[in-house]
Symmetry: C2
DNA sequence: ATCAGCATGTAAGGCGTTACATGATTCA
DNA sequence: TGAATCATGTAACGCCTTACATGCTGAT
């Protein structure tokens, strides 16, 4: 009974679709997954090693010329663990919004800083939104592929929430401009 | 030049409003802040100790009877650090949505599990939403207090995004029911 | 020739969670 | 009397990030 480390689940999930190298896995995570999960090499390679030794995944040397390349594929035991995790009726959803933290404590200085922080957040969200819409366009084209439906749903979650964020930004800036009256310095 | 550990900023922010014990700080974080930031005793007490030794905050024994009690208050140097952080034009906003991770890999088994996971998410969001609306009601009553405006904005961020989540849940369940045709087992 | 991208990995350090350990007070 | 809440803290462990270290290949 392993401990269900989340990066393991991400890797198993990706490998359930196709064989991948550690480097590939990183690229996949940095793609459409990145807005709801992250991974790093220092994270991925050790996980790969562990799961291989536990018999969850298998490896194959796919080196080309002098360039080292190790591809991993999922094994039966790995698939079982993946499904077990999917069936568990609990999910740790966590957000850490430094922007909100700063806003929460915005009162300690002038409102300009808070407005500026919201604008920075807006910019960040807007560019993420563009990326997500790009993914959505591609996915929409073949929703007959079951897997694409699942991908599309996560992407549309991102789009919907980011759009809600942007609406909130407008409202928040307006409220700060109207409601905060300050005889402040700094 | 300290390292801007986020829990330090949370504590400095809270102490900028009122003197608090470690226990109080935990309670504050578990309140309206909890949906965008978390903290634990094993996190808070050491941070308090460090910041006291660095001269960012001061402590006072406020024991009552035999019950030990240490209250902390913010010092000038602590306030400077807080403001410095607020002015930094970058914010690490991170979400880790296990629900979305599970959905992303939903294709490896039947859609029922994915629908079930969305329903569980919905329940979780709905009860959080009720709490947030409670906070919002209280805060709305005196928005003449500048601090309350800031609190209100973070709470309304939560409400707006949670409402967007719920709308997405309806859409996602519908799409899974319509689009996924499976001759699958298990 | 050089730079970007492919490719693998380790090491140190940072941060946080969980569990443990202890004890007082208040209220039913 | 016992449970809940107040209150402080430590220790072990787990996980991840960052930086480092190395080397090949393909395109300009």
């Amino acid at each position: 009974m392993a401990k269900d480390k989340k990066i393991d689940m991400v890797i198993l999930g990706l490998l359930s679709h196709e064989d991948l190298t550690g480097y590939d896995i990183k690229k996949r995570i940095d793609g459409a997954v990145s807005f709801f999960w992250k991974g790093s090499f220092g994270n991925i390679y050790p996980a790969l090693k562990d799961m291989e030794s536990m018999g969850l995944i298998g490896k194959k040397d796919t080196s080309v010329g002098g360039r080292e390349r190790v591809s991993y594929h999922i094994l039966e035991k790995g698939k079982e663990q993946l499904v077990k995790w999917l069936r568990e009726e609990q999910a740790g959803n966590e957000l850490r919004y430094e922007t909100l933290l700063k806003l929460f404590f915005g009162g300690v200085q002038g409102k300009d800083i808070s407005i500026r922080n919201i604008e920075l957040f807006e910019d960040q969200i807007r560019s993420n939104l563009t990326l997500l819409k790009g993914y959505a366009d591609t996915l929409e084209k073949n929703l007959d592929n079951n897997d694409h439906v699942y991908y599309y749903l996560t992407v549309s979650f991102g789009i919907d929430t980011y759009e809600a964020y942007l609406k909130w930004c407008v409202k928040a800036k307006k409220m700060l401009k109207e409601k905060i009256k300050e005889g402040e310095i700094l």
